[in-house]
């Protein structure tokens, strides 16, 4: 003990600290990669040929054959186009309806002061409503008016179900703004619409963008309504993916390439929303 210098003690402590950190990092990376593995393996298998994909292997010579084959299939294009239509138009309309409503629920005047809260709670309860509760009447209407074979039927359902989510998420971002700026703007002769477009929107821009991206992900991934309220010409990508359910272990490469196309946009958009996700989804009860 006596012949140990201070430097040696410090160095030892440093080494111990360093190895502890290293082991911890390895554990964290290990778990993260293991958790992400099914997605990773799916990405990889998309670059295999069917023969290569039969047995699970991580190392192989990649090829673009399968992707070319999947993308040259006209039905795949149709599903992709339908999905993009629903996502772009559905998200836009939900925002156009939801953002002003949410703004008015935070800062606007309704008949009674407590009305704001009541309408907000009403929007929340519609989020709780499972889609099965509306399936039967919508299905019978759509059959009667032949909306099954046009994309607008599903679009209306998506707007109805995602506007409350926009109201809900954007509400917590608007609530952070001080009411005084809008009072001041009103005295300066700013109409409600100008208050929203000139003052509120620029400030909460990032919050609204992440709400939009998240709603886009929800619509892109939505299956129940897309499956039951569409016909062959209007079905979306999740419906296309569900058709692989009967092909037990066949066409693994093709399945992987198609699901990569179906999954990758949502993951990328989702990662972009990461920061605002917690706050937006938990009603601002949790700060992200």
């Amino acid at each position: 003990m006596e012949n140990r210098t201070i430097e040696q003690v410090v160095r030892r402590a440093r080494i111990r600290h360093f190895t502890k950190k290293l082991l911890l990092s390895l554990l964290i990376y290990g778990i993260a990669i293991f958790y992400f593995f099914p997605i990773l393996y799916m990405f990889l298998s998309g670059f295999k040929t069917e023969q290569q994909a039969v047995l699970p292997k991580i190392f192989f010579t990649p090829t673009l054959e399968t992707f070319k084959k999947v993308l040259s299939d006209p039905t795949m294009y149709q599903y992709l186009r339908n999905s993009l239509f629903q996502v772009i138009i559905g998200t836009t309309v939900s925002l156009v309806l939801g953002v002003p409503a949410s703004f008015v629920l935070v800062f606007g005047t309704l008949k009674k002061p407590e009305s704001n809260n009541k309408y907000f709670l009403w929007f929340i309860t519609t989020i709780l409503l499972p889609p099965v509760a509306v399936l039967i009447p919508l299905f019978t209407w759509y059959q009667k008016f032949n909306l099954i074979n046009t994309p607008y039927g599903l679009l209306m359902a998506y707007v109805g179900f995602h506007t409350p989510i926009v109201v809900w998420m954007v509400h917590s971002f608007f609530s952070d703004l001080p009411a005084e700026i809008f009072d001041a703007a009103e005295i300066d002769g700013c109409t409600r619409l100008q208050q929203l477009t000139r003052i509120a929107l620029p400030i909460v821009r990032t919050g609204i963008i992440s709400a939009a991206l998240l709603v886009a992900v929800f619509i892109w991934n939505e299956f129940f309504l897309g499956f039951n309220l569409t016909g062959n010409p209007t079905a979306t990508l999740p419906v296309y993916m569900s058709r692989f359910r009967e092909q037990q272990g066949m066409f693994v490469a093709q399945l992987s390439a198609s699901s990569t196309i179906a999954v990758l946009p949502a993951i990328v958009l989702g990662w972009m929303t990461q920061k605002a996700l917690v706050k937006g989804l938990t009603l601002g009860a949790v700060k992200g």
């Binding site: 005047t109 109805g160 039951n228 693994v252």
Partner: protein
């Protein structure tokens, strides 16, 4: 406007007289034109169909029997599912109800326990921690039908999947998990998809714990387990409850994953309430009974959410 007059205006705008003026001005002008379009669309697409579903649930209406007139039959559709004639042989409905509660409950339990452990792990400050966090978040954004078919073919398949190949490598006989343990498979996939959300919310909670509290914890010589169980866990309990409530709302209506993995089978062993509604409409063609089941699903969701919400409100009041 000059700087001074702007200041005066701002000052005046906060005075009580001005507030009074603004309020009396607002009384004449309300903002319903911003709100009503959204309310209208949402009501037409969600509330009206739900009210119709409630009406349908009291009708005798079978799509495959157009010869029978649609007629009011009271609570017959509900009794068809709920009525217990012999206590030793409960009707199928109770099995489905139990499976729904079991799948949702176990998923939420596993998500909270494992999610908390992983959130603690990801709360460490190592190089590249953001990459690890981002990777763990990935499965949350994967569409359920894709994750279902991917897991089924590349992992659970007994011949070609990782599970089959690895268990043969270690000398086990792989079994067809999807048929033998349908509920287990569904729960594993749900947990895989929803745990990232729990980790995200709980991690936000852990990072919100003030640093001086952590420092004083270390000075007082609190050991790791005590620190986690007695201090960190109670502090993020509300985050946990909110994650559980949201998870519940989304899990209870999940349908696609069950359709692509087990298709409710074997028999009705992995039916959940939404799946049973779907089968009543499109397989049994019985609109009345499907309506009754849909109403029961909504009632169950509202009941469970309400119970959880009350516990959250009660706890928040306790802390504040």
């Amino acid at each position: 406007m000059s700087g001074a007059s702007r200041l005066r205006t701002l000052h005046w705008s906060r005075s009580p007289q001005c507030m009074h003026l603004v309020k009396s001005m607002n009384k004449r002008k309300t903002d319903y034109k911003f709100l009503l379009p959204a309310v209208f669309v949402v009501a037409i697409m969600t509330q009206v169909p739900f009210l119709l579903t409630i009406i349908f649930s009291t009708l005798r209406w079978n799509l495959s029997r157009p010869d029978l007139a649609r007629q009011f039959n009271g609570l017959q559709n509900y009794l068809y599912f709920l009525k217990i004639e012999d206590w030793r042989h409960l009707p199928e409905f109770y099995g489905i109800l139990w499976q729904t509660v079991f799948i949702t409950g176990s998923t939420l339990l596993l998500c909270s326990a494992l999610g908390f452990a992983l959130a603690l792990l990801l709360d460490n400050d190592v190089i590249g921690i953001n990459i690890a966090r981002t990777l763990m978040l990935g499965p949350f954004f994967v569409m359920s039908t894709a994750s279902g078919v991917i897991w089924k073919t590349t992992i659970f398949n007994t011949t070609f999947g990782w599970y089959g190949v690895l268990s043969k490598l270690f000398g086990f006989q792989p079994v067809d998990l999807v048929s033998y343990h349908p509920l287990g498979v569904i729960i594993v996939l749900f947990v895989w998809q929803w745990m990232p959300f729990f980790i995200l919310v709980l991690l936000a909670g852990l990072q919100g714990i003030p640093q001086d509290l952590i420092d004083s914890m270390q000075i007082d010589g609190v050991n790791w387990i005590q620190g986690v169980v007695r201090i960190k866990l109670p502090l993020i309990m509300n985050h946990m409850r909110i994650a559980i409530m949201l998870g519940l709302v989304f899990l209870i209506k999940e349908f696609g994953l069950i359709l692509v993995t087990t298709a409710g089978g074997p028999g009705t062993r992995s039916y959940t309430l939404p799946y049973a509604v779907y089968m009543q409409v499109f397989s049994a063609n019985n609109v009345g009974r499907a309506g009754a089941l849909a109403v029961i699903t909504v009632a169950l969701t509202l009941l469970l959410v309400n119970l959880l919400y009350r516990s959250i409100v009660k706890r928040s009041e306790m802390y504040s």
